[in-house]
Symmetry: C2
DNA sequence: GATTTGAGGATTGTCTACAATGCTGCTCAC
DNA sequence: GTGAGCAGCATTGTAGACAATCCTCAAATC
């Protein structure tokens, strides 16, 4: 029985862990969900008091968040929540597209029997969720889908780069530019990707993933544009 | 006049900077050059005393080094210098190859007049150094070469991933598996890459970079194999 | 009125001390 | 002799206080 990894990273669920790891996930969620607004300043002291800890662990957590691109820190000035811009969105998706295509190609070559079964199971669950119209779990499921493929690539540096470095920022864009999803099409694309991986067709799998992510980019960009420049429609 | 960036990152040269930034580069060099041996344990207290500072900044520096893959930290256990293994070398170069090929393609599309001139200038300097047999500057020059192309890609996330995340570890492999270089061939390859970029031929530029890096991988792997398994030749 | 300059306050950087955890090497039972 | 269990020590995690830097805002000068 596989341990059904529900979250992006699995810090053994808060228990008996270090303070930094405990509050890190909480601050992550706050940022991703926009409770800490993009671009807003983060006060170490205030943040520490909010979680009832001292500034030491808080600073370490902020450094971790900087590594995940969720926070920008400037020496002697302080930390700010990352801002969402069209240019960065494009840079981010450009990179993500390349990396996940690579992950797909590698997965097609290297995926294990067990991992493939897991992937099929997840896909079927997604399709079932879709039929029930359960959109929240779809979003989570989509994260898991990409996550599993990345793991199946077997390249630990690739995994670290995507999951440890890029994925949280991606979640932030997706959450805040709440693309209530194009689920039917997306999950159809998922199926074709899994089929290509199962067939060991690396080139096709990579190509399909590239297109799949490009679809996601366009979708997110559209929403972000509506958010950042609502003046045009509001003025007239 | 461009400021001739000599180092991987330019922290305004130690002056008036934060302690962390000052010692970070020093520890980096110690690790890359092997003064801190791969796999050896790092004692926070001892390291702090060595540089005459307290444990706070030392811990922050170690976290930065973890981000750069030069150090592995385990909660409540401590930090170790990264170990060099064949598998990781392959993972690392696999990823690097994809990312730098991407950088090359983007550079071919987006490089500015000024950046291209800089690149030509660097190439000519490399060829001149080669003629003089100046191998140390060749190595540095090679780093700069890739660095400039990465910058020319214009994708800030790509830059951050490669330069902030991967490049120091790459330097470590290259330094310690001291490939005294295949300079003639490498620089010939450099020239063809620049020509492709100048011609705006993204596909060719990416392809050439892929092959160029694959050459580097084989070279480094060979040296590493000799280092990790010298028993065979020593026993008999 | 606009610009500069400096004092005051707020925030970040660093240090020291203490608490919590993991590791080492001994004793003791089998 | 070998393995388990415990005590002591070394090391990391956390807290709180002090030092250094930056930002704000008002007063003074042009």
């Amino acid at each position: 029985m596989q341990p059904t990894k529900p979250s992006i990273d699995n810090p053994a669920s808060d228990k008996n862990q270090t303070l930094v790891e405990q509050i890190l996930v909480q601050i992550q969620e706050s940022i991703i969900k926009g409770e800490l607004r993009p671009g807003s300043k983060i006060n170490e002291q205030a943040l520490a008091e909010k979680y009832g800890i001292s500034r030491g662990p808080t600073r370490e957590a902020l450094q971790q968040l900087e590594r995940q691109r969720l926070v920008v820190r400037i020496p002697h000035v302080g930390a700010r929540v990352a801002t969402l811009t069209i240019e960065e969105l494009n840079d981010l998706y450009e990179l993500r597209s390349t990396l996940e295509a690579m992950a797909c190609e590698l997965a097609a070559k290297r995926i294990s029997e067990q991992q493939l079964n897991q992937l099929w199971a997840l896909l079927e669950k997604q399709e079932a969720d879709l039929a029930r119209g359960d959109s929240y779990f779809q979003q989570e499921g989509d994260v898991d889908f990409h996550y599993q493929i990345i793991r199946a690539s077997g390249n630990r540096h690739l995994q670290e780069t995507l999951i440890g470095g890029l994925y949280h920022l991606l979640r932030m864009y997706r959450y805040q530019c709440t693309s209530s999803s194009r689920p039917v099409r997306a999950i159809a694309e998922h199926r074709r990707i899994v089929e290509a991986i199962a067939a060991g067709d690396a080139e096709l799998a990579g190509l399909l993933m590239r297109r799949h992510i490009e679809q996601g980019r366009q979708n997110t960009q559209q929403r972000l544009q509506q958010l950042t420049a609502p003046a045009a429609s509001a003025v007239s």
